[in-house]
Symmetry: C2
Subunit: 321 residues, 2 copies
């Protein structure tokens, strides 16, 4: 399995404690989740109906401010698994460093995949991938720049998994344009990654093709019930975006005491340059706080945001050790 | 979308009422579901961990009495979506009539698919599909017969979605043999189709390949928590199998008053020959009881089992009208 955040199993194995003792800051999953609430028995027992799925699609269109064709899937990851089959294998270019599942899924499917480090190097690709804002470094691309790239590639996949708190970056409203595909994650911003819910928006033909690949019941009844409620709750989304902005500043200030330098971030995670990320990760792990490091960048350490004052206090204590 | 049971939307549209007013007997989903119970916040919020998924696999191995390589997926349907990509497209033979998603998924993926009506006609196929017990007619194939077919086909897919109550039919214990793949549904016997959980058992290479196709988090945290608990509860499974046996006899007796003839069935559904299935479906629909009919077989009507005495009484009333 490829390296990901959220691998608390490994932390427990190496540093002890029980899963529930740890504060997992190795992911960009919101630690103040949307309340799951009641889920009617029908959502557990019956197959999701066409109208249930449609109502989820409509809620997502409202949340993402778009009228584009949309398909609910079991996480943005499920969309990544299907994307390589939308077109015959060709040249794929992925703007790197970024989430490592794109290169993996495209390569396995037989694509010629190159990771490129500049935006302009994406031009000419049959399939170009941009994560916006990017994970792990928070790089952002503005809409005009992305739309100018669109006619220069076969398909442009924009992964907006971390865009909920920065809707001004989103191209969801443009997702009807031929060749443009937008991926959205539900679980990160809403703090419900275990629910397995995400969306892909795109042209009618691509969405229909992805729907055939995904089959008739691609998401669970619980994902429909909880996802619909959460996506329609725009007050919660606004309040959460505001809180996350403040928490980012707070985290950046906290780590200054250690001399770490902010490299970038999005409202759910921050990337810092440390002198030795492995040592920094081990120090935090001593307080059962899990973080994410990156094999090829020995100074990089990524942290999610603590979820409550007790977690902030434990992090502050671990940082001054 | 292809015709399936569980399409209550259509029933409501044609015959009125609210979804919750209807008794849905159009599927083979147990209407006395396993209790969902408490689901810890961790299962909602965190990505399913490797050890969580492993513990679910282990519970399924116990329930299916096998030590074979296994992969949890979002329903047996999710396995059907992936199967066509396990091998280069070739000749697929599906023992028909049966669940219509096999022909659909294989055809879309480019296979040369033929529905055959005799078991012997499966020989020579690159991929052969047998549903055992079969849906909708309950045909059963014994283990020796199936194992004798195995060396005569490239891959043999046995869909045991309805085998929970007849474990003596299952080849799960043999699933390590090269070329053999066993599909299991969780949602039908446990009455939790909305959870989206199923399993595929097979040789190590095939299971590894399917796992790569499915991606790192193919099932939800709720499916892991509830699925694991339910699969380990062998007392519930035994009691349910006994109850279903009795309920099948009761249903067969009830419909005799209408002159319907039993064509076959499994412990979760019964297939009857009526004089006019469309008229029979409409009559039941007048009492907001939904059933399944089959376009190409004008007399066939399939019924699931009522879940409680109130439902039995409504069915009895509708049958004598």
């Amino acid at each position: 399995m490829r390296e990901h955040g959220g691998n608390l199993d490994q932390a427990v194995q190496r540093f002890g404690g029980r899963v529930q003792d740890w504060i997992d800051l190795s992911t960009g999953i919101n630690r103040q989740p949307y309340p799951v609430g009641e889920i009617g028995q029908r959502h557990w027992s019956a197959l999701p109906s066409h109208s249930d799925i449609e109502s989820l699609h409509e809620a997502a269109r409202q949340a993402y401010a778009t009228g584009a064709p949309i398909l609910a899937l079991a996480g943005a990851q499920a969309a990544i698994q299907l994307l390589p089959r939308l077109a015959p294998c060709g040249r794929a270019r992925v703007l790197a460093p970024t989430y490592n599942e794109y290169v993996a899924a495209l390569s396995v499917a037989g694509w010629d995949v190159v990771e490129v480090s500049t935006f302009d190097a994406l031009a000419g690709a049959d399939l170009a991938v941009v994560v916006n804002p990017n994970n792990p470094d928070g790089r952002r691309y503005d809409k005009a720049e992305l739309l100018a790239l669109l006619p220069r590639v076969g398909r442009l996949v924009i992964d907006e998994s971390f865009a909920d708190a920065t809707p001004e970056l989103s191209l969801a409203a443009e997702a009807g344009r031929p060749g443009l595909l937008i991926l959205r994650s539900f679980g990160k911003f809403y703090g419900l990654a275990g629910l397995r819910l995400g969306f892909v928006l795109g042209g009618e033909g691509d969405i229909a093709a992805l729907s055939v690949m995904a089959g008739p019941w691609p998401v669970s009844g619980a994902a429909i019930a909880v996802g619909r409620r959460a996506l329609l709750d725009r007050d919660w989304a606004k309040a959460t975006a505001t809180r996350l902005d403040g928490d980012c500043l707070r985290l950046d200030a906290e780590v200054k005491s250690r001399g770490w330098r902010l490299l970038g971030g999005a409202p759910l995670f921050r990337l810092y340059e440390t002198t030795d990320a492995t040592a920094a990760q081990e120090r935090l792990a001593g307080a059962h706080i899990w973080s994410r490091i990156f094999g090829q960048q020995p100074g990089w350490l990524r942290l999610g945001l603590p979820g409550n004052e007790a977690e902030w206090a434990r992090l502050a204590g671990a940082l001054v050790r």
